[in-house]
């Protein structure tokens, strides 16, 4: 399978899905992201790692304009999705977010039934013409999130009654129900136990076949396990971006090395 040495190998490259050029993010006077250039590929899991406050979550939230909800936050630079500027005036964030789904740190199902949780996105975007359509979309999303077998007999019971891991997979199902092209995950396993974490990681690996997945994680082991590309952020800079195996065996930047080996740096 791997017939060339690690150092010469890069992940099988796919076409670029999201491209960021010279991105700066300001919270009022404070510059949280400094001149970040990155290309996020399709059908690839890209992990953002870095110490707390390094800007990785902030940058992730730029990719679906979740930062818009914060008044003092402003984004400079160019971010394109399939070559189209997502901050262009013609792009509505609502439309963008249907295309770029998001899964959050804490499982946050709506206090509604499992069915309504998954069906909410398609419903508000008018993706289902009939109840039968919606049934199909919900089932497909739940299957894709590897949750269908566990919940098919209790679709009308509340989503908040599921276990933590199931809730997080429900949130993933909710995110994929709108047929997004990119999935952003902000520390999706930080509130889960190891078994549930493993299930979500397996799911992320499966989702890679159809989506471009970007995951922010504090667990370097998790980044190493699930991602093909890893980006290391430090103090708002993108310090190093490369093939995950390379980052974890032989990082080029001493800051990356210090961080991933747990040294004082």
């Amino acid at each position: 399978m791997y017939d060339n040495p690690l150092t010469k190998r890069t992940a099988v490259t796919h076409e670029v899905k999201i491209s960021a050029r010279g991105v700066n993010v300001f919270y009022g006077e404070n510059r949280a992201i400094k001149d970040v250039d990155v290309d996020i590929e399709d059908k690839t899991v890209t992990a953002f790692i870095g110490p707390s406050g390094c800007g990785k979550s902030t940058f992730l939230r730029c990719l679906n304009r979740m930062n818009d909800t914060i008044d003092i936050c402003s984004v400079k630079g160019l971010i394109t999705l399939d070559g189209e500027d997502i901050y262009a005036p013609s792009i509505d964030p609502v439309q963008l977010r249907a295309k770029v789904g998001m899964v959050f740190q804490k499982p946050n199902p709506f206090p509604k039934s499992i069915y309504d949780n998954v069906g909410y996105g398609p419903k508000i975007h008018g993706m289902a013409q009939s109840r039968a359509d919606l049934d199909e979309i919900v089932e497909r999303a739940l299957r894709r999130a590897a949750l269908w077998e566990e919940v098919k007999d209790r679709l009308s019971s509340p989503g908040t009654g599921l276990s933590g891991g199931q809730q997080q997979r429900l949130c993933i199902a909710r995110a994929v129900a709108t047929e997004p092209e990119v999935l952003l995950m902000d520390e999706p396993c930080s509130a889960l136990d190891p078994i549930a974490t493993a299930q979500v990681e397996e799911l992320i690996d499966e989702l890679r076949e159809q989506y471009s997945v970007v995951i922010v994680t504090h667990s370097m082991q998790q980044a190493a396990r699930v991602s093909q590309k890893t980006a290391f952020f430090h103090l708002g800079h993108l310090v190093e971006f490369g093939e995950t195996g390379q980052i974890f065996t032989n990082p080029h930047d001493p800051r990356t090395e210090s961080y991933i080996t747990g040294r004082i740096g």
Binding site: F248, T249, N250, T256, I260, T261, G262, R263, I264, G265
Partner: protein, 236 residues
């Protein structure tokens, strides 16, 4: 990059396995020198001691393996820490092989003392083993100091050992042709020389591990080789 981990016990564990390797290296160095000395001095007692001491090297290698396995399981090292653990394991295996060759030399010494000595051979073998011992010492120093240049130097010096072996090979061949009664002793001496040449190869492997540890990449150029005995007919 800072040297110290945030978790201090991580540093202690890393230092501990490297200390084990150094201890092993020290034992192996002594074994090389003593086995050569026992051959030169026809000292059966010393040879016996070298054979016995090899057990300590084997035990140390076992401990190094256990500690590395524990470290991989508990700390999941990455980057330079991962490379440290990986190289420690490989160096341990190399040292263990070198120890085995020294033990084998000591065994053959036990046989050789009962035969007529071959003029000059013991001195030549002793010089060769000293060269290998010096290489091993430098390789281990390069490891401790993370000195890739020194390691590269060690790697190059293997050629000298190979050349020494080539010379001895021809010499023994001559002796055997001169007097067939010398054949048994010369065969043993040849094996000893070959063992020392193999030790040099293992030391080279250790040096290459040092280069990998420091740079993250294995040296890509051909390993320097001067042992032509396997590919050319000897010109006598």
């Amino acid at each position: 990059m800072n040297d110290r981990h945030i978790v201090k016990s991580y540093d202690r564990d890393l230092e501990a396995i490297q200390a084990l390797i150094m201890k092993m290296g020290g034992l192996v160095e002594v074994a090389i020198l003593e086995s050569a000395q026992s051959l030169e001095n026809r000292d059966e007692e010393l040879a016996e001691r070298v054979r016995k001491n090899d057990r300590a090297v084997d035990e140390l290698e076992e401990r190094v393996n256990q500690e590395c396995a524990r470290m991989l399981a508990l700390r999941q090292p990455s980057a330079s820490d991962l490379r440290t653990v990986l190289t420690v394991m490989k160096i341990g295996a190399n040292l263990e092989r070198i120890g085995d060759y020294a033990k084998n030399m000591a065994k053959r010494t036990g046989v050789l003392v009962q035969m007529t000595p071959i003029d000059g051979s013991a001195g030549a073998i002793r010089r060769m083993s000293m060269a290998v011992e010096a290489m091993l010492k430098d390789a281990l120093d390069a490891y401790i100091q993370r000195d890739a240049e020194l390691a590269q130097d060690v790697r190059m010096r293997d050629m000298e050992v190979d050349q020494m072996y080539n010379a001895l090979f021809r010499e023994f061949l001559t002796f055997m042709m001169e007097d067939p009664r010398n054949i048994t002793a010369c065969m043993h001496l040849h094996f000893i020389a070959k063992n020392i040449e193999r030790m040099g190869d293992h030391v080279t492997a250790i040096a290459e591990q040092v280069i990998y540890l420091v740079t993250g990449e294995m040296p890509e150029d051909e390993r320097p080789k001067a042992d032509r005995t396997a590919v050319e007919a000897p010109r006598v």
